[in-house]
């Protein structure tokens, strides 16, 4: 990775400056002892993992004892953080400067689910669940499992931090997903599905019917089981019943478990960071997320606007550059210079499109503090790269 050309923001048009978003004091957030959990959310591919790791490194190098939980990090980034052991436990990262500490881990969702079962059941019971075919499908491929397990693991890390004093700040990355809201909603959705009335009917028809669901439902239910049995065979239903029965006995239901971890997100000391790239879809997702946090009264620390185009020559507009290139082309000279001018014109075009989108976001969410990280030529794959991202986040560079 190299640093971008220049740190200047290079506004393309001198039009009336829109209200600038509040500058975000990232260091104040990570230095604050009261900040115990930071959750990095955003839509797919915007830089959640990079941001989580960069914040973690910066916090550690400023003296905190930090644990970063990453999810599917890019391979080279994982290697640079020493994330080669896939044991679902945080390991110290070497190469961290200063007095703080940094541990990092990669989430293994199946393992987390298995551990959750093993941690609550005696060996026989656990074995019974782990070998259940329905459990195996649920723990490896169900929609929402990754989000559920990310929260589950966060809960466990937090418990370890509290009981053993291992870390004073936990930073979590969230699973790749189209929608930033999935992290908040998927566990509850999955929980209510698994605790829903069909499962209840299947696992304890008598009890549910007796609880007033009524005769109509029980008639429908008869039809339901018979159709289901016809289509998928009785075995799936048996596995499902066995699994849900065993699981409820251990955890009192999925929803309850999901709610318990969700409440951790609402605790004081938890802050959200929403990450976006300056593109329409990503910023729309970020908007939804910001509104949702507000509605749920969960604290948003700020928006990371990642991969922002930078230029060292904001004074030369797209039009000027293209006009210059055209003159050289007409005169049939300066081919290289003409190419450089085209390159610059492209940059300016991207940059003004991005600023337009960013300004629109800030117009709609004037209270949201923004930190910009430029688009680097290469990707971010080592500690130095993360440090550089951290400097931009904190506004040491770029402003």
């Amino acid at each position: 990775m190299t640093t971008p050309a220049k740190k200047s923001r290079g506004r393309a048009t001198p039009a009336a400056p829109p209200a600038r978003p509040a500058t975000w004091d990232v260091d104040a957030l990570i230095d604050n002892e009261a900040t115990r959990i930071i959750v990095c959310c955003g839509s797919g591919g915007v830089g959640k993992t990079t941001t989580a790791a960069a914040l973690g490194l910066r916090a550690a190098e400023r003296g905190r004892r930090v644990c970063v939980m990453t999810i599917d990090p890019a391979r080279r980034l994982a290697q640079s953080m020493g994330l080669t052991e896939l044991d679902n436990e945080p390991r110290p990262v070497s190469g961290v400067q200063g007095d703080g500490e940094l541990s990092a881990m990669m989430l293994d969702m199946k393992r987390t689910f298995d551990e959750m079962v093993e941690g609550h059941a005696d060996a026989d019971r656990a074995e019974q669940i782990l070998s259940n075919p329905f459990y195996q499908a649920l723990s490896s491929s169900f929609a929402g499992t990754q989000e559920y397990m990310a929260m589950e693991k966060l809960g466990r890390l937090r418990a370890t931090a509290d009981s053993e004093g291992t870390w004073d700040l936990i930073i979590v990355d969230t699973p790749p997903s189209r929608s930033a809201l999935d992290f908040l909603d998927a566990p509850a959705r999955m929980g209510s599905f698994l605790d829903g009335r069909f499962i209840r009917l299947l696992t304890a028809p008598a009890r549910s019917a007796g609880k007033g669901l009524g005769r109509i439902v029980s008639t429908g239910f008869g039809m339901f089981t018979s159709v289901l049995t016809k289509v998928i065979g009785g075995q799936v239903l048996k596995d499902l019943q066995a699994f849900v029965g065993a699981f409820e006995a251990l955890f009192g239901g999925f929803r309850e478990r999901a709610e318990a971890t969700y409440s951790l997100l609402q605790e004081e000391g938890t802050s959200f960071v929403v990450v976006a790239v300056p593109e329409r879809d990503a910023l729309r997702e970020a908007s939804y997320f910001v509104e949702r946090l507000k509605a749920d009264q969960m604290p948003l620390a700020g928006l990371v606007l990642n991969r922002v185009q930078a230029t060292g020559a904001p004074m030369l507009s797209e039009e000027q550059a293209l006009a210059g290139a055209e003159r050289l082309e007409e005169a049939e000279e300066g081919e290289l210079t003409s190419a450089l001018l085209h390159l610059h014109a492209q940059r300016m075009a991207t940059l003004s499109r991005q600023h337009h989108l960013a300004d629109r976001f800030s117009g709609a969410h004037p209270g949201v503090a923004v930190a910009e990280v430029p688009a680097f030529a290469g990707d971010v794959h080592d500690l130095e790269g993360l440090r550089q991202v951290g400097r931009f986040l904190a506004g040491e560079l770029s402003r």
């Binding site: 190299t2 971008p4 050309a5 220049k6 797919g44 591919g45 890019a74 391979r75 080279r76 075919p133 329905f134 499908a137 491929s141 790749p176 189209r178 599905f193 829903g196 069909f198 439902v217 429908g220 039809m223 339901f224 159709v227 289901l228 016809k230 289509v231 998928i232 065979g233 075995q235 799936v236 499902l240 230029t311 060292g312 020559a313 004074m315 030369l316 000027q320 006009a323 210059g324 290139a325 003159r327 050289l328 005169a331 000279e333 300066g334 290289l336 210079t337 003409s338 190419a339 450089l340 001018l341 085209h342 390159l343 610059h344 940059r347 075009a349 030529a377 290469g378 990707d379 794959h381």
Partner: protein, 329 residues
């Protein structure tokens, strides 16, 4: 390398790399010259309707575009619940009961809870379209599927293995077998869309391996959103070594009337342009490295340019033409 006789094209790739866009362009390309194609989506997002700027697609095949030279592109948004109702009707004569169950939410429940059921229903539907004939002729010359991303596509297509757990006999089992016959036929190809960046390329490499391990047919790699380098190789090398001729550039900029009167500003501008050139050179170099990682896969590679300002219908037709020119048919 491209084969004319592929009838089912499954388009996958990392999230956001352009699966929907490429699938649509491919359906257009394959319909060119008076043929008929079906473009299918399976994730209920109405991405096709948005792309072609038509109202949300129903659960039936609709014409969405006319290809150059008079071919037709039809589109279908497959819905697992609807497919389940068809299925109950067809095999158990349970149309009415099915609708009642759906109102109760039971159909949604069933397609969510039974591992593999949803995928069999979805793949079954488009495999039927691949095989469908009228008057001894195939109804569609090709079917293009906007498939789930790389991480899920193997499981999605490998319905046999998934269904093994839920159905040993019966119509679901038969359906799975007939899906596998289509998917494993020499007329099916799974294409992977990627960008020349580390993560999508890695996902492509892993994806090809997973397809191979599961005996699924890999087709071509589509490198999307490619930027054409504006500098030639020597210039790129000089840009990264910082040996481009500053004086010559300064003179050119003066000749072009780009630079101002003040020397300091001029120097700053030249440095900024050189920095941008160096960035560009680094980007191009990284893209080449990523491209080199794709070559050993031994699959044909086609590329599509980054379209400035995003994808509209015109751009889509343009991408279709480019696919044809590169032989992805």
């Amino acid at each position: 390398m491209a084969r004319d006789d592929i009838r089912l094209h499954v388009v996958s790739g990392k999230g956001g790399t352009g699966k929907t866009t490429v699938a649509a362009a491919l359906a257009l390309a394959l319909a060119t010259g008076g043929r008929r194609t079906l473009l299918v989506e399976v994730e209920g997002r109405q991405g096709i309707a948005q792309l072609f700027d038509v109202p949300p697609l129903p659960y039936s095949e609709r014409k969405v575009a006319v290809a150059p030279g008079g071919g037709d592109v039809y589109a279908l948004a497959i819905d697992a619940e609807e497919a389940m109702l068809d299925y109950l009707d067809m095999f158990y004569s349970l149309r009415r009961a099915g609708s009642a169950l759906r109102r109760m939410g039971a159909i949604e429940f069933a397609t969510t809870i039974a591992p593999g059921l949803r995928d069999v229903l979805l793949t079954g539907k488009f495999c039927e379209a691949v095989k469908r004939q009228e008057g001894g002729e195939f109804v569609y010359d090709a079917v293009v599927v906007d498939a789930p991303p790389t991480g899920r596509v193997t499981r999605f297509l490998n319905v046999n293995r998934e269904v093994a757990d839920i159905a040993k006999v019966g119509p679901i089992r038969n359906q799975a077998d007939s899906v596998m016959r289509v998917i494993n036929s020499p007329h099916t190809a799974v294409h992977l869309v990627t960008l020349l960046e580390e993560m999508p390329v890695q996902e492509t490499i892993d994806g090809v391996e997973a397809l191979h391990d599961n005996g699924l047919p890999s087709g071509q790699i589509i490198v999307n959103m490619l930027r054409t380098p504006l500098l030639d190789d020597d210039e790129l090398a000089a840009a990264s070594d910082d040996t481009l001729d500053r004086d010559a550039i300064t003179a050119d900029l003066k000749a072009a009337g780009v630079i101002g009167r003040r020397g300091a500003t001029t120097a700053a501008l030249v440095e900024a342009l050189l920095d941008e050139a160096r960035d560009h050179a680094e980007r191009v170099e990284l893209e080449r490295q990523e491209r080199d990682r794709l070559d050993p896969l031994g699959l044909p590679i086609v590329s599509l340019p980054l379209v400035d300002g995003g994808i509209d219908l015109t751009a889509l037709y343009d991408l279709a033409t480019q696919l044809r020119e590169q032989g992805l048919r």
